[in-house]
């Protein structure tokens, strides 16, 4: 319960936006673990995005004669549901 208050207080500092008393208990440990991993996860993500861009670049360079797939197709979030595998 104290933890939920903690979240609510910290949000109050950000903006006057009404926070909808996130009813879910996020869990103190889960909350702190994310903060602990934040830098690492952010770094890994940037590396992966960067690496994908490098791969796309080389794909385009080496397949100039073929029709090139638009990079938009490879953006996350564009998959149709059910084809998630």
């Amino acid at each position: 319960m104290q933890f939920v208050h903690f979240v609510q207080h910290s949000i109050g500092l950000f903006a006057p936006l009404k926070r909808n008393f996130a009813y879910l208990d996020p869990g103190t440990g889960s909350f702190l673990l994310q903060l602990l991993l934040a830098t690492l996860l952010g770094g890994l993500f940037l590396v992966r995005v960067f690496w994908n861009r490098i791969k796309d670049f080389f794909k385009r360079v080496f397949s100039k004669n073929k029709t090139v797939e638009s990079p938009a197709n490879e953006q996350p979030g564009n998959e149709q549901p059910g084809n998630e595998q």
Partner: protein, 475 residues
Amino acid sequence: MNNPAMNNLAMSNSQRPLSALDSSFRDPSGFLFSRSGTLYRQVNQSYRTHFDTLMSSGLYQELVKSGRLVAHQAADILAEIPELAYQVIQPELIPFISYPYEWGFSQLKDAALCTLTIQKMALEKGMSLKDASAYNIQFHLGHPTLIDTLSFEVYREGEPWIAYRQFCQHFLAPLALMAYVDIRLSQLLRTYIDGIPLDLASRLLPSRTKYNLPLATHIHLHAATQQRYSDKTVKRADVRRRMSRIAFLGLIDNLESAVRHLSWKPSGTEWAGYYTDTNYTPPALEHKKQIVSNFLDRIQPKNVWDLGANTGLFSRLASERGIETIAFDIDPAAVELNYQQCQQAKEKHLLPLVMDFTNPSPSIGWNNRERDSLMERAPAQAAMALALVHHLAISNNVPLPQLAAFFRELTRWLIIEFVPKTDSQVQRLLATREDIFPDYHFAGFEKAFGESFHIHEAIDVQESQRRMYLMEGMD
């Protein structure tokens, strides 16, 4: 947040109307209720800003268009608790509600990936999921979809994902246990209503999962961190770090990768090879298919439950006619193979589910009412019980009159196959036990079922000992 005016707008549970659904009580943003047989969702004032952002940002449209969120219409009716209400909406209905402990491996995996995709799409529009419960996902038209329109909140950079713990417990832990330990561990979801506790998952998983970085982090380390802080209070002043948007995206990305890499190959369970070594010669199988097809055309049911459907060979006779069909089977391998076929063929009217009819899903959760038992989700208009009766009557000693009563509660129309003692499969069941079934024969079966059903047709299957019946329940 200490604004007293706002406190008045928060709905307390004592104000919940009796018409509100028994599963819809935790979230003060709103609740589901039914009126005159229609399902509505009240959106409360406290949720107003988030709801408006969902609708105006384009997120709603994008999610509905890609089939990831149920659509809704504005409902021009009086709210259930008007003093709290902002709006009332009428959501699109899901024909059959199923629960994560009834899903096969890939269904749970697809539901997990769907949740993460929704979260990514939400972040792009400045929103975030405030919960990640597997019960918010339902299967509709062959794919997973979010049914809780009020799951979204405006994203504020700096905060970690509030639903991270829930995602790990509802999705990642059960999937990892199914993949690394035993497929049957999805049944733990029936006992643990808020997902599998991470410390339990951590203990059950083999130690080699500690060398898998995502699992080591999101399950093992996560469990340890939960234990460490379980009795500690953390003051805001002590927490200096924030979680940037990039880190947030990194977390979602990492979870997605963890889920994608989990796999299970169905094999070695007793039914998966069923159709390659059954009691049917090719003509017998064809004749049986013909009989079922004719019966279905005669009944023209709105929906069909296929009990003991295996990989859905006969279920598809119904679903390919556009009839909403559920293919139940006790074997997770059969359900998995069935679902994979559904995905490949993009089938829209077939839902495979895991179900043991000698011990079907009970009602669980708060007040034993949050999640409905299987019988509470009955009746179906028509049910098929092909090559099933002997498993219930002989293997499980259920007397035929009790079977008949069970089916009568389950359905109005019944397509059922009786497998007599002369059939080699029944002989196999009786091989190592005493035959205590004096009434288990055609006459005994017809007498027992004749108490609750009109028997319209009885057709012997060619080149087989078995007989197919078409029955209609008596009122």
